[in-house]
């Protein structure tokens, strides 16, 4: 009988009855439940820092009063509790990012004024058109006229310098005595006042007769001739008095390090022939130094010279295939029309709609600061803190080279400052947002690095503020076609792809994951369209330009990897949103683009299931990993397999088996930091605090490079706090070892000293 029949006298039962739980006998009516804070369970979206900021809401500790000594006294609950009720509901949010305080801003602006001038040789194609709204030059204002290097590849020279730069040049601590006009001023006398040629640069430019070092240097960033773009937003060198300080920013434009090109090394030798030119602006330098004694930053001077000679047509031909490949992008319809009208000379840049242009500028000032040092001052005194030495933006060359040095030594705050200076030199400094400017390959690369570092430092709001003028990265002036005079024949996006990824990812860290997903989806569409174009025998942008088979393959490969990068971002974002179904689906689909990451991806998916609590499904994925590992001939003793097994044990509350699985990994790979750390964590759950501590402490001492990581330190300090009342001393010892090794970007929160 299939039909359900409702009986004629309708059931008198209420349609739904609340089920009482067994023990639910307590009347909770008056009890105000604390709104559950974000659960402690890890979600990928919570950075460690967020977790640290979480305040514990319900835990309360008190000491009993000295008189209350009878241990069997059952303390009346109400008495115990009444003191704590207020504590429980404290506000928890702490702003992660603090803006530069307002009062500092003005000063900041002054300090920012750069200090940088490029002389613009007559050879330069002058593009600068004084805009009516341009601010009047003030006395003491810097004259940032940017000199830029144009695109082009020099494969031969490239081959000579495969690394892209020479690290040895970085090392000289002070400027060399042989550096031309600067020699007569002693460093001590100059110290904070006078421009000091950066060591690396002075070395390049003293010896004018010798061409190669300079070429080598510039080859690190550019591969061919220079073009100067004077920024309409920048002050003109003629009007603004003798440049006080001349900073040489070798803003090499083309960063292409690969790609076959036809031009010869000859173009390279020419720029550096007339290095003597730099002598000309030098005399005013000293005067300037005196006139601005407060200026803390010494800057190097560099004369950039241009290679003339190349006609635009030759340049167009020289535009390498690699450039085309990497710069390809599909602008929106509106932007495309503007770009077409620029090409057909129907578009006047002066009259161009301002709102359609990207006009960025620094939004905040110096980040410079070193949290490690601050802690040292606080806990160990000024004297001990003196030992802490980190590179600052002043200590390195005011160049891309110096920037790279700061990044690789993990002094990201200093690096952000340096990008700020270099951008100021380009006329996009503090307060310049909203003012007309022109973009170059370099300026956008600098923005990219700056924003990437801000993101790495978790200063998301700062990054968002500074990205805002760029809109959706689709303004016409962010495409090469907008500057036919400067980049003749070059097409595509000036905005590096990685910056687009960053731009798309950023909102998710600011609680707007949907916006991130939207941006990522549109990026994915572009990647897919470009791939489709390539597969259909067209060029990336869908034009009929024919590509050689080789170039097509290279382009397909590049765009596939870009597509997979976007997919990774999407999956990561979905993971943060706890949309596990979609996240798993996308991670799975990445395998087809990155087959070599199959094991890692399957294991990762397994871990996602463990995070949800679905141990069974996780185990299925881990078995797939095991099979795939067997196929690769790596067998069941693969670290990846062992690691997964350990996680399954862990999820079954079997800490001792988990511990031995992690230990098995160490038998194969004794340096595996993850296995080492995880084994120690298991020990704690087994009630072996001292052993666990010994293991972690030993690791940090033996191999600080690997173990001075915030996760390990966090575990260590947590255990110190559990162990004894003397945790602060032990934490200070950690601080000392951090101080010896880590840069200014170290996240001191994991030390839990404050």
């Amino acid at each position: 009988i299939e039909a359900l029949m409702s009986p004629h006298p309708v059931s008198t039962l209420p349609p739904s009855s609340n089920v009482l739980f067994q023990e639910e006998s307590i009347d909770l009516g008056g009890e105000s439940f604390i709104t559950p804070q974000e659960d402690s369970h890890s979600t990928p979206s919570e950075s460690l820092m967020d977790k640290l900021n979480d305040q514990m809401m319900e835990s309360v500790m008190i000491s009993d009063s000295p008189n209350n000594s009878e241990e069997d006294d059952v303390v009346p609950m109400d008495n115990l509790l009444e003191h704590f009720e207020e504590q429980v509901e404290e506000p928890t949010t702490q702003p992660v990012v603090k803006d530069a305080s307002l009062e500092e801003k003005k000063q900041a602006v002054e300090e920012k004024q750069v200090i940088v001038a490029f002389s613009v040789p007559a050879v330069t194609p002058e593009v600068r058109t004084p805009s009516p709204g341009r601010p009047k030059p003030q006395t003491g204002e810097p004259i940032p006229v940017c000199t830029i290097f144009s695109q082009g590849s020099q494969p031969k020279v490239q081959a000579l310098v495969p690394d892209g730069f020479q690290p040895t040049l970085i090392k000289s601590p002070s400027f060399s005595s042989g550096s031309g006009g600067g020699t007569d001023i002693t460093p001590s006398k100059l110290a904070p006042l006078v421009c000091q040629p950066s060591p690396s640069l002075s070395k390049f430019f003293t010896d004018s007769g010798h061409v190669n070092p300079a070429t080598d240097f510039f080859d690190s960033f550019t591969t061919s001739s220079f073009i100067s773009v004077s920024n309409p937003n920048a002050e003109s060198p003629e009007s603004a008095a003798p440049p006080e300080h001349q900073l040489s920013v070798p803003s090499g434009s083309s960063l292409s390090t690969s790609g076959p090109t036809e031009s010869s090394t000859a173009t390279h030798s020419s720029p550096f022939g007339p290095a003597q030119v730099e002598a000309t602006p030098r005399p005013p330098q000293q005067a300037a130094a005196e006139s601005a004694p407060a200026r803390p930053q010494p800057f190097a001077q560099l004369q950039v010279v241009f290679s003339g000679g190349d006609d635009p047509f030759a340049k167009a031909l020289n535009m390498s295939e690699a450039d085309k490949r990497y710069d390809a992008w599909l602008p929106s319809e509106v932007t495309r029309k503007v770009l077409v009208s620029v090409a057909t000379q129907q578009y006047s840049q002066v009259l161009g709609e301002r709102e359609r242009l990207a006009m960025p500028g620094l939004k905040f000032d110096n980040l410079q600061g070193d949290a490690v040092k601050d802690l040292m001052v606080r806990f160990m005194g000024e004297q001990a803190a003196l030992k802490r030495q980190v590179l600052t933006a002043d200590a390195v060359g005011q160049s891309f080279l110096g920037l790279k040095q700061l990044i690789s030594t993990k002094n990201w705050r200093a690096a952000v400052d340096l990008t700020g200076r270099l951008l100021t030199a380009h006329g996009q400094g503090y307060g310049k947002a909203g003012q007309p400017t022109s973009h170059t390959t370099d300026s956008l690369q600098l923005w990219f690095v700056r924003l990437a570092l801000l993101t790495k430092l978790s200063l998301f709001q700062n990054a968002e503020m500074e990205l805002e003028p760029f809109g959706n990265l689709d303004h016409p002036d962010l495409y090469y076609e907008y500057y036919p005079a400067i980049y003749p024949g070059r097409r595509g996006s000036m905005v590096p792809f990685s910056m687009r990824v960053l731009h798309a990812e950023l909102p998710q860290y600011l609680g707007k994951p949907q916006e991130s997903l939207d941006r990522l989806h549109s990026m994915r569409t572009v990647c897919q369209t470009i791939l489709k174009n390539l597969e259909q025998g067209l060029a990336e942008d869908g034009s009929m330009i024919s590509l050689t088979q080789e170039n097509r393959q290279a382009s397909l490969q590049l765009w596939r990897s870009r597509l997979s990068r976007v997919m990774y971002s999407m999956a990561n974002c979905l993971l943060m949103m706890k949309d596990y179904v979609l996240a798993v689906e996308i991670y799975h689909s990445i395998i087809q683009y990155e087959p070599q990451q199959r094991l890692q991806l399957l294991s990762g998916i397994g871990r996602i299931f463990l995070q949800i609590g679905d141990v069974k499904t996780a185990d299925k994925y881990f078995q797939d990993v095991e099979k795939a590992s067997l196929e690769k001939g790596r067998g069941p003793t693969d670290t990846c397999v062992l690691m997964n097994r350990a996680f399954v044990y862990l999820s079954q509350n079997n800490y001792s088996e988990a511990h031995s699985a992690f230990t098995d990994v160490l038998k194969i790979d004794s340096k595996n930091p993850v296995a080492n750390n995880n084994a120690a964590v298991c020990l704690l759950y087994l009630g072996r605090l001292k052993e666990s501590l010994r293991q972690l402490e030993g690791l940090v001492q033996q191999d600080p490079a690997l173990y001075l990581h915030e996760s390990v330190l966090f575990n260590l300090t947590t255990m110190y706090e559990l162990e004894s009342s003397r945790s602060t001393q032990k934490k200070q010892a950690l601080l000392e070892s951090v101080a010896c090794r880590e840069g200014d970007s170290f996240n001191t929160q994991c030390l839990k000293l404050v």
Binding site: D39, E58, S63, E71, L80
Partner: protein, 443 residues
């Protein structure tokens, strides 16, 4: 016996040190601690830490291409970072375990685990250390210590470790009371305690609904809502029937060998998500006979729910016995033994009714059949069915046809007990789908 010493010093090392502690201690108190720390040489401390599962470290991938300004720098930094997945650095979810950072929430049915570490911070050996961990709830006090024996001595820099577990069975305020008593070398007996308060919250909201089928089957619909803040993997949601019933779970769709869940691929519940579970309960044969006459409240069974969260953190709850009011059938119950699900328009079809006398007396019944707008009964209305004694039943084949297409409700049966002159009406007995045969022939 007075155990307390005036200079007793209590050190609080609690792993979740935040501003919270500072707000708790006013300055005077901190001052007191500071002073006594200098003067006091017998110091012991107790550390407490809730052992929820560790979490996996997530890193934030920032990448660039070789051609970008930083070159391979970002890539190298990510490769050197021990917390990234080697070979797939852009994968956010790493493998590095980190210890729980805060107390988090604890829910009814979960297991509360805590590490208790008593550490001798002094430079002298202390003796006869007794550590006691009690959990005070609003209704009882439980002893959670593994052992109640005193440790004979504790050397400086040594500690007594204990990991306690307790399955939380009450909602509301809990206080963990850790008490340590010990004797110093000078023979002084010292004692201190530490309290740790936490709230146990309700993890799930369960609502149930019963449907009584005419066949004596009972359908239970249970809505289970996750009212925690984290996703919950539902490992098991089963109905343990009472002795009267057998249960069939209707939460999988049979496809081949293995049934697939009706909830799709992922078996987890996001915060505030609700799921509907459906169960069919059939009375066991020995009770089925009496089912027609069972009246009042009956016990159906209870739901057993097992869930897991982060890295297998487990929780389990059982509902109280679910009770249902047996449907009242009145004096005479009319049920259907047989009815087709689909019939042709204007074509007579057969149904079989069962009439049961649920009253205490014998009845003499007359059947009337009233046509409705769509249902037309065939045969004579007003016929005598004869006498039916208490609990007896009779089976009655009937013929009818429908003049309207679609899902039609069968109504219009009237039974009259001639002894008491009482009429019982039976409408909406069942539904039947009426289709047009010509249409189906054409297609």
């Amino acid at each position: 016996m007075k155990l307390v010493c005036v200079q007793r010093y209590l050190v609080i090392t609690f792993h979740r040190i935040t501003q919270f502690d500072r707000t708790l201690w006013n300055d005077d108190y901190v001052e007191y601690l500071f002073v006594s720390a200098k003067t006091q040489q017998w110091r012991n401390s107790i550390g407490l830490m809730r052992l929820t599962k560790p979490t996996l470290f997530t890193n934030m991938p920032v990448t660039c291409e070789d051609r970008d300004l930083p070159g391979d720098l970002f890539g190298r930094l990510m490769k050197e970072d021990p917390s990234t997945i080697k070979g797939a650095e852009t994968l956010m979810l790493g493998e590095m375990l980190t210890l729980p950072q805060n107390f988090g929430n604890i829910f009814l049915g979960e297991t509360f685990s805590s590490y208790i570490s008593v550490h001798n911070d002094s430079i002298q050996v202390v003796k006869d250390i007794l550590v006691k961990a009690d959990l005070q709830t609003s209704s009882q006090r439980l002893n959670l210590s593994a052992s109640n024996n005193a440790v004979t001595e504790l050397k400086p820099e040594c500690c007594i470790d204990d990991v306690i577990h307790h399955e939380v069975k009450e909602i509301g305020t809990h206080i963990l009371v850790c008490a340590v008593s010990y004797t110093t070398q000078a023979g002084e007996k010292l004692y201190f305690r530490k309290f740790f308060k936490f709230q146990v919250l309700k993890p799930l909201d369960v609502k149930t609904k019963f449907y009584n089928a005419e066949t004596d089957e009972v359908f239970l619909e249970a809505q289970i809502q996750n009212i925690t803040t984290s996703p919950m993997f539902m490992e098991k949601v089963s109905l343990e029937p009472s002795m009267m019933y057998n249960v069939t779970e209707l939460n999988t769709v049979d496809t081949g060998d293995e049934g697939t869940s009706t909830f799709g691929k992922m078996s987890y519940l996001q915060p505030m998500d609700t799921r509907q579970y459906l169960y069919c309960l059939k009375p066991k044969p020995e009770f089925a006979e009496k089912a027609g006459v069972i009246k009042g409240v009956t016990v159906i069974g209870k739901l057993d729910i097992v869930w897991k969260t982060n890295l297998g953190e487990r929780g389990r709850l059982q509902t109280s016995q679910l009770q249902r009011m047996a449907p009242g059938y009145g004096d005479v119950r009319l049920s259907l033994e047989m009815i087709p699900d689909t019939v042709n328009l204007e074509e007579p079809f057969d149904i079989t009714c069962k009439i049961t006398n649920c009253s205490e007396r014998t009845m003499d019944l007359v059947l009337e059949m009233c046509n409705t707008r769509s249902i037309h009964w065939c045969g004579v209305s007003g016929r005598q069915l004869g006498k039916v004694s208490p609990s007896a039943s009779l089976t009655l084949p009937l013929k009818l046809l429908s003049s309207v297409q679609g899902l039609q409700s069968i109504s219009g049966l009237r039974l009259t007990d001639t002894f008491l002159k009482r009429t019982y009406e039976y409408d909406d007995i069942a539904q039947v789908c009426v289709v047009c045969p010509y249409m189906s022939r054409e297609t």
